[in-house]
């Protein structure tokens, strides 16, 4: 018992080294090496989707020089906003389940807002949006309760939701088939812009807050000897955020109007950033988020640790539907109406998967959804510029989806093989 001498050290520490993530690094060099090893080890994070985005952009730019112009890029951001929001909603259930219904749940959210701001009801815009989000959250709560209390597969319940809520949406739209929105604030959510000066101010504020928080947190961790990336990496992160902010504002502040000048960052960019910040904090910094990942990783372990699976899962479905409601309002706002043409089908939901949220559960972040939404928007937009039909868009999006699920599955096998 006391004569057990650890020749143990060798094997495990080598195994650890192969996947020792960047968190171990003390210098920039080591950090890069750790990241490289981690990617080779199958934990590729956002890398494939960023690479894909660059590839798609290069391809469309080669086909059509209009693709990378400022006006088209801003347009792409506005078009993509609904996808990004929808996909962020899908991240919650995808950490262990799936929700196919949120596209049409979002559509119902759009209709509620359009109805309530009509002159005959005369609700203020904020009350209408609040009501719509509450209804969407309630729908999610209902579906989540059915799934968790009755123990039915989420696939089946939300597939029923996909059909059912589409039916409800068509009923609400009636024969006219289209419901215009007569409220300027609601319409400006997607179509309005900050002034160019305000765009700079807001961007600088956001970057400053992000930088200050990141720097403070990571330097405090470094000084108290906890696991933290080296200072150079923190600076690169902050620099990257500032650069991204400047590029976005420069693009958005370029005049993109045909008749009258149109400049400035669209409001909708702020909405997406706001939801992204909230959901990132919820997933990464709270008990709820931690339990959601735990359930996705090993539900039995979470249950033994005293996590209430039913409640956490139900809330996840509810939050997912509420986020879909935000997406629905933004979508309706861009078109200034809701019509029966609204496509809440399943394809757009997979923006989250394309962005890198694992269908196998337990992995994924809100930022993945935003990137995935950008990919779908880029495909949609680029193929639209080339005059391809909706049919062709579906085929290409399907192929991209297949590719991303393949990457996920292969990466997963790489991890398990270790």
């Amino acid at each position: 018992m006391t004569d057990v001498k650890p020749e143990v050290e060798e094997a495990p520490s080598q195994a650890a080294l192969a996947l020792a993530p960047e968190v171990m690094a003390t210098s920039l060099n080591e950090y890069m090496r750790g990241t490289y090893l981690r990617i080779r080890g199958g934990d590729s994070g956002v890398l494939p989707v960023v690479a894909g985005l660059i590839l798609i952009s290069a391809l469309f730019q080669a086909l059509n020089p209009h693709f990378l112009t400022a006006s088209n890029l801003v347009n792409l951001l506005i078009q993509g906003a609904a996808y990004m929001l929808l996909a962020m909603g899908e991240v919650f259930p995808l950490l262990g389940e799936i929700d196919l219904s949120i596209g049409f749940v979002g559509g119902i959210g759009g209709i509620i807002v359009a109805e309530l701001v009509k002159s005959q009801y005369g609700w203020p815009w904020w009350a209408a949006i609040l009501a719509a989000l509450l209804v969407c959250a309630a729908i999610g709560l209902l579906q989540g309760t059915i799934i968790t209390r009755l123990g039915l597969p989420s696939f089946v319940v939300t597939l029923a939701g996909l059909l059912g809520w589409q039916g409800v949406m068509l009923l609400m739209l009636g024969n006219g088939g289209s419901l215009p929105i007569n409220d300027n604030v609601v319409n400006d959510l997607a179509s309005g812009n900050l002034t160019p000066a305000a765009s700079w101010v807001v961007m600088i504020l956001i970057v400053a807050v992000f930088s200050a928080r990141t720097w403070r947190r990571e330097s405090r961790r470094r000084s108290s000897g906890l696991v933290a990336p080296p200072a150079s990496v923190t600076l690169i992160k902050i620099g990257g955020a500032a650069l991204a902010g400047i590029v976005v504002v420069l693009i958005c502040n370029t005049d993109r109007g045909r008749v009258v000048p149109i400049k400035g960052v669209p409001w909708v960019v702020l909405i997406v950033l706001g939801v992204l910040a909230m959901w990132t904090a919820l997933l990464g910094r709270t008990k709820f988020g931690r339990y959601l990942y735990a359930i996705g990783g090993n539900a039995e372990a979470a249950r033994r640790a005293g996590v209430n699976l039913t409640t956490i899962r139900t809330v996840a479905f509810s939050l997912s539907s509420m986020t879909a409601g935000i997406a629905g309002v933004v979508y309706a706002s861009r078109l200034r109406s809701v019509s029966t043409a609204l496509d809440g089908g399943t394809l757009v939901l997979y923006a989250a998967v394309i962005g890198g949220t694992s269908l196998f559960g337990g992995r994924g972040k809100a930022i993945h959804a935003v990137l995935g939404g950008l990919v779908i928007a880029a495909i949609d937009n680029g193929m639209g510029l080339q005059g391809y039909s909706a049919a062709a868009k579906y085929v290409v999006t399907a192929l991209v989806l297949l590719a991303s699920v393949t990457i996920d599955a292969v990466a997963r096998r790489g991890r398990l093989a270790r």
Partner: protein, 262 residues
């Protein structure tokens, strides 16, 4: 009934008195009398179906005994759920470990009992506590405490699962076949850890099939045979053959020669 073992305190941490358990007509445990003292490793061995799992499940609060008494620190207790047991300081390391692969070591160790700073998770406090616990147990082969558990070797995972029980100031740690899936080097590592726990004054109840493990770490050996305790002896009074005899037939001629009746 049980052999008197040297005690540093007034009595053993956990005493089972005439514990009975049956499932329908099947008598799983019959009149089990077992002391589990603090600071010692008690090995629980027995053939498949001898009742090892049922016995530890009774202690862990998963099953309720049909007869007899469970006495904890001198007081009779009723363990109606795993929650009751962990409230007393009884933690079980299950064979499947119950770790979340996608979470890192700190996150796993604090799962279900996270420290909070207002409503946000207090990662720094948790990381500090986890680091302290791991280093106090001399678990040093882990490169980073922020590694996902998926990237750990089997022995390291076992170490994390064990460290988790220590973090919660448990007094009795039940381990179900902790080395069953491990290689030689990793088994050594885990067995060292088991000794460390006992050295810190915890009671360890080790369920095992493996004679090397049993004689490597156990202070006392309890042999179950068909739901009865065939023998409880200090490990020094037994040898491999006598334990195997006890496991397979319920008695051993070698043992009675070596020492008096149980």
């Amino acid at each position: 009934m049980t052999l008197p073992v040297p005690q540093t305190r007034e009595g053993p941490l956990l005493e089972l008195r005439h514990v009975e358990k049956h499932f329908g007509a099947v008598q799983a445990l019959t009149g089990i009398d077992l002391d589990v003292p603090a600071g010692k490793v008690t090995a629980l061995v027995g053939d498949n179906g001898a009742g090892k799992s049922v016995l530890i499940k009774c202690i862990a609060g998963i099953h309720q005994p049909d007869g007899g008494e469970i006495v904890w620190e001198g007081r009779p207790v009723h363990l109606r759920s795993p929650r009751d047991s962990s409230a007393l300081g009884i933690e079980t390391v299950h064979q499947d470990l119950a770790l979340c692969d996608n979470l890192d070591i700190v996150q796993n160790m604090f799962l279900g009992r996270e420290k909070l700073h207002r409503i946000a998770l207090d990662e720094e406090a948790m990381e500090r506590a986890a680091t302290e616990t791991l280093s106090s147990l001399a678990v040093t082969t882990v490169r980073s405490i922020r590694q996902p558990v998926a990237s750990l070797s089997g022995g390291q995972r076992q170490s994390v699962a064990i460290a988790k029980t220590v973090l919660w100031n448990s007094k009795l740690v039940i381990m179900d076949e902790p080395t069953a899936a491990l290689g030689v080097a990793q088994t050594t590592m885990v067995l060292e850890l088991v000794r460390t726990l006992a050295g810190r004054g915890l009671a360890v109840l080790l369920v095992s099939h493996n004679m090397n493990d049993v004689f490597g770490v156990a202070d006392r050996v309890a042999v179950l045979y068909l739901g009865r305790l065939a023998a409880v002896r200090p490990a020094g009074e037994l040898d491999r053959q006598s334990v195997v005899d006890l496991m397979t037939t319920g008695e051993s001629s070698r043992m009675t020669e070596a020492s008096g009746p149980a």
